[in-house]
């Protein structure tokens, strides 16, 4: 029997299931009317076991009976991903408890919140392809609930776009998975290797890039992100941009044949896409005035950087471990910093609190912004330098381009952060009426800030050890500080000009930029298609084919033939004639 049950009954097997199952059960409890009152306070703590496992990893466990052979476990990437995801989910959980304290629909929010958490945690620990895909789908569709929580028209619109893209993403992923399944005969544990040897490798890679690209916000497919973030409640958008976008990245790491074979053209593509995303994100971000939208665009640009890092990985299979380490570090840094920023946006009321809170609040928002802008001694600096180191390994042409673009993006991010801070702080003063942030919000935010400061340093993978020493050297300091100062200066300057003229420097681009033209195009197509269908349906070709109408015309004719025929046959002369006619026919037949 053990072949079927695998190590379900072993302690670590149960632990894994508990980790994944606890949020699920709580989500169900939150939805069920009678028990939801008890479920709510427990919500954030259900992710604690996940964090514990991240810290003390357990051996992998096999469940052959579960969904074509599920396998849960942690490797190095998984461990780091799990750590920052779990941490972020716990913080936003605590934050949400108090942030939505008097929101009537909070039970529904927590139900979806916990479902998404389960999905997110699940996909980090899932080793096999279908397990990963299962959690990915669960997370995607549960997140929909978070996005349209407010129920406003904008929320519904953002939700609709999100679902359409999610379904497309899901369909692409299914195809890719099926192809990989075929190549790797069934449910595959290490998809990366299999994809590298697979026959239709290019097609699979294209599907994977696009499928996970939608979730990770790669440029052409990022349109849902800037729409979703502003409408989602703050803890949701924090988790959305902090942890869930990273799921797309994790998907790339797990599925793409990184470190297996050198794929120059694919790496060129990723690099190009990544770099355009980095610059494009920031460019559009600068035109926004809504704090959350700005942060959304900054996430898009950061994800662009990570995509380029993957491009590097594709180019240099040998140095892939190093690139992997940088990527993990970068993801860790970005998720924590972005999470902190988003939570800060939710606490605008702090401005009216006591002096000390106001000061602490200002410093708190400044810190992650600096980290994002890769100010010295921050995790951002560590991540950015790591990326630069790695970029040097690339062949000549790409090396120059990359370093140049990286510095430019660093500058741009700094500018964006300054732009964000100016708008954010100015907005705080004007808007009063926001209630004081509750204690829960403060605690979770401070916890996150501590993580932003320390986590990157604590968890730096051993490959990047030498880098740490280098950072502390003064020469490096100057390199990064001038970028931050220049960015801040430019940001402040723009803020002052808009302060007076009330008009942005750059023309305002509506959020979801390229979506607008595409949407109008689709609407036209739909109108044309619908009228065509109506015309066809009007005539109902099918019924014509079955010729019901002609049968209807035929009936009276048929009826008259029948009646006339029967009457005429019934006359005696007719009978007699027929009688003898048949006789003669039979006679001829017999005699012939």
């Amino acid at each position: 029997m053990d072949t079927i049950l695998g190590d379900t009954l072993t302690p670590h097997g149960l632990a894994w299931l508990l980790l994944f199952g606890l949020p699920l059960t709580l989500a169900a409890a939150a939805a069920a009317r009678p028990v939801r009152r008890m479920a709510l306070p427990l919500a954030p703590w259900s992710m604690v076991p996940a964090l514990a496992v991240a810290v003390w990893p357990l051996p992998a466990a096999d469940y052959p009976w579960l969904l074509l052979g599920l396998r849960l476990g942690l490797d190095q990437t998984g461990r780091i991903f799990l750590s920052f995801t779990a941490f972020l989910w716990i913080c936003s959980g605590i934050y949400a408890k108090s942030y939505l304290a008097e929101d009537p629909k909070r039970h529904r929010f927590f139900a979806f919140f916990l479902l998404t958490a389960a999905g997110n945690l699940g996909l980090t620990i899932a080793q096999d392809m279908i397990g990963f895909y299962l959690c990915f789908v669960l997370m995607t569709f549960a997140a929909y609930g978070l996005i349209i929580h407010q129920g406003s028209h904008a929320a519904r619109h953002a939700g609709l776009i999100y679902v359409i893209l999610a379904v497309f993403g899901e369909v692409l992923l299914v195809t890719a998975i099926i192809m990989i399944g075929l190549a790797g005969s069934g449910n595959v544990i290490n998809p990366g290797q299999v994809v590298s040897q697979a026959v239709h490798r290019n097609l699979i890679m294209a599907l994977l890039l696009m499928g996970f690209g939608i979730k990770a916000g790669a440029v052409p497919l990022h349109v849902w992100l800037p729409l979703a973030h502003p409408v989602a409640p703050t803890p949701a958008s924090a988790v959305l941009s902090g942890a869930m976008i990273k799921a797309g990245l994790l998907g790339w790491l797990r599925f793409l044949p990184l470190g297996a074979a050198a794929l120059p053209n694919w790496s060129a593509l990723c690099l190009a896409a990544g770099l355009t995303a980095a610059l494009y994100g920031v460019a559009v971000g600068l035109t926004e005035d809504e704090p959350k939208t700005i942060l959304a665009y900054s996430s898009i640009s950061q994800m662009g950087v990570m995509l380029s890092a993957i491009g590097i990985g594709l180019a240099l299979p040998k140095s892939w471990p190093l690139v992997m380490a940088t990527l993990l570090l970068y993801a860790l840094h970005h998720s924590l910093a972005k999470g902190a920023l988003f939570l800060a946006v939710g606490m605008t009321g702090a401005v009216h609190a006591g002096r000390f809170q106001r000061l602490f609040f200002r410093a708190g928002t400044l810190l992650p912004a600096l980290a994002m802008a890769a100010a010295p001694l921050t995790s951002g600096a560590l991540a950015k330098t790591a990326i630069k180191e790695v970029a040097l390994l690339l062949p000549s042409f790409w090396r120059e381009l990359l370093t140049w673009v990286l510095t430019l993006s660093a500058l741009a991010t700094a500018l964006l952060m300054a732009h964000f801070l100016c708008f954010f702080w100015s907005r705080n003063e004007t808007e009063h009426g926001h209630h004081q942030p509750a204690a829960g919000q403060w605690y979770s935010w401070t916890l996150l800030l501590i993580a932003v400061l320390s986590a990157a340093w604590l968890l730096t993978p051993m490959q990047l050890e030498p880098l740490r020493g280098k950072l502390l050297s003064p020469s490096w300091w100057w390199g990064s500080t001038w970028i931050v100062l220049l960015g801040g200066l430019l940001g402040w300057a723009q803020w002052r000009r808009t302060g007076r003229t009330g008009k942005m420097v750059l023309p305002a681009v509506p959020p979801g930029d390229i979506l607008i033209p595409v949407a109008t195009l689709l609407k036209q197509l739909h109108k044309v298609g619908y009228s065509a269908v109506q015309r066809v349906r009007g005539k109902d070709l099918m019924r014509q084919l079955l010729a019901w109408r002609t049968a209807v015309h035929l009936r009276p004719a048929l009826l008259s033939i029948l009646r006339g025929g029967e009457e005429s046959i019934s006359r005696w002369t007719a009978v007699g004639t027929l009688f003898f006619l048949l006789a003669m026919i039979l006679l001829t037949i017999i005699l012939s």
Binding site: I4, L67, L68, V167, T175, I178, L182, S185, N187
Partner: protein, 507 residues
């Protein structure tokens, strides 16, 4: 004649006897009728369980009754038969509970339950049939016993629907009879044997006759398997009461057609002969066209049950697609979809019935915010809808997974394309319903009395719905286990049809 020989017949008789007894019950003897129904269902489940356990251990059950010259009535419980019998007897048990609740105060209940049990007898008979003649006998009995159920309400449109249903099914049956007789004349009294029996005929230059017979057989079965040109009766038959459309048009009647095609292709012609005759191509084309056309028509329907009906039309052709794409994996996918689609679709129909009965919703436009009033029903609906779309945890994903793998393995890439196209279309017509139910504010008339007591609707309507929803979820989740539908089908394909190539890692 040991017990083994009588078990298939006993399973058949349990519902037949109860049916006949119920006919003679007076309308008001409700308790006795319910007892009879329940007893019949439970005994049948027990017998089926025994046979399942037996077949799992390689035991063979066969009843042979002399019917007509050399061919006699053969009821054999092989693995494929047990799959369908298990499905139909389990779902009959649930649907009986549902029907008792649904038809609480309506007239003619004795007549209804009588024909209801006879219809299940026919389905079990079809499943257990050992040769084409037995299959045809029960196939016809099914048509006859379902007609009174479709016209149960006696309203003019019910009669029109019944008339249309008869025209389609009887002409289909006529085609099937011609095919069966011609095959009998050509190949003598043949039985269903795994791997097909007709291979010896091929070289005797009967190719044209074999192809013609195949067309006749599949044409006849196609009516019940709702291939597109022949599907007209299914949507109009939705006028029947909910339990009828649930069990019959989601499980019994339509599956009989699909099951028949599986029998014809695998147990009579054999997969190699079908391929060499070159009929699999057009069959796959018809299946693909029905999948797409069914989903497209479903998009346009506002009436909930008609949309589900068109979705059945498209989902059914998955089975034929799986059969038409020659290969072990697509076979597994096709055959297992027979079970999965049954469970999921019956949940959807139960929910539709529940909505219609409790809050009087028939059209999708009236479904705004219904989840507030009936959360449990809508959760079941959501699980089943996700299953139909093919999202992982629910059973639908498993069959799509195998179908996709099979299509690629057989080199028919377009198969995957069709699957994806239909996934999108499924999402297209299921997600708006979920969206409307869960996220829109209720404004319809039924909303004024909120959720009073603990049960949102009659427990007899709710429990079966939840049971089937859980069933479809576990069928998806526990796909690895040998006793799950997929495991069972894998065993069939491995043992009976010896198609299983070692290359596949899946146990």
């Amino acid at each position: 004649m040991t017990l083994h020989d009588w078990l298939p017949l006993l399973t058949l008789l349990t519902s037949l006897v109860t049916g006949l007894l119920i006919f003679f019950l007076a309308e008001q003897q409700v308790r006795l009728r319910t007892f009879l129904n329940m007893a019949g269902a439970i005994i049948k489940l027990a017998l089926v369980a025994v046979m399942l356990w037996g077949t799992f251990h390689g035991q063979s059950y066969e009843t042979r009754l002399p019917l007509l010259g050399q061919t006699d009535l053969v009821l054999r419980a092989d693995a494929l038969a047990m799959l369908f019998v298990g499905l139909s007897s389990l779902l009959w048990f649930l649907t009986t509970i549902y029907a008792i609740g649904y038809l609480e105060k309506s007239p003619h209940r004795s007549r209804f339950f009588g024909f209801f049990s006879i219809c299940v007898t026919a389905t079990v008979g079809i499943a257990l049939a050992g040769n084409l003649l037995t299959f045809f006998v029960f196939y016809e009995l099914l048509t006859l016993s379902t007609y009174p159920l479709v016209v149960h309400r006696g309203t003019p449109e019910a009669l029109r629907a019944g008339g249309r249903y008869l025209v389609y099914t009887l002409s289909g049956a006529a085609l099937l009879l011609l095919g069966v007789v011609w095959l009998y004349v050509l190949a003598g009294p043949i039985e269903f044997t795994a791997g097909g029996v007709l291979s010896h005929l091929e070289e005797e230059s009967h190719r044209a006759a074999l192809i013609a017979i195949f067309v006749l057989l599949v044409g006849g079965l196609g009516v019940k398997a709702a291939f597109v040109p022949l599907h007209g009766w299914l949507p109009s038959a939705m006028v029947a009461p909910a339990p009828v459309s649930a069990l019959l048009h989601a499980v019994a009647v339509v599956k009989a057609g699909a099951f028949g095609i599986v029998r014809v292709v695998y147990d009579i012609y054999g997969i190699k002969l079908t391929e060499s005759l070159g009929v699999t191509g057009p069959l796959a084309a018809v299946a693909a066209f029905s999948i797409i056309y069914g989903s497209l028509r479903a998009l346009m329907q506002d009436d909930l049950k008609r949309r589900l009906a068109y979705s059945t039309v498209s989902q059914l052709s998955y089975i034929t697609l799986g059969v038409a794409i020659v290969g072990p994996l697509s076979t597994v996918g096709g055959v297992v979809h027979l079970v999965h689609q049954g469970i999921m679709k019956i949940t959807l129909f139960f929910c539709a019935g529940n909505l219609a009965e409790t809050v009087g919703i028939h059209r999708i436009s009236e479904m705004d915010g219904v989840a507030k009033r009936m959360p449990w029903t809508m959760t079941a609906f959501t699980i089943a809808a996700f299953g139909m779309i093919g999202l992982p945890p629910v059973a639908g994903f498993i069959s799509k997974w195998y179908l996709g793998l099979g299509a690629l393995q057989a080199g028919q890439g377009w198969g995957v394309g069709v699957l994806l196209m239909s996934t999108l279309l499924n999402a297209g017509y299921f997600l708006p319903i979920l969206y409307a139910a869960w996220f829109k504010e209720p404004h319809a008339a039924w909303n004024e009395k909120g959720l009073k007591d603990w049960w949102e609707s009659d427990w007899r309507l709710l429990l079966p719905t939840l049971a089937t929803a859980v069933l479809s979820l576990t069928a998806g989740l526990l796909a690895g286990l040998p006793i799950s539908p997929v495991g069972w089908v894998r065993m069939i394909v491995k043992q009976d049809y010896k198609l299983w190539t070692p290359f596949l890692g899946i146990p």
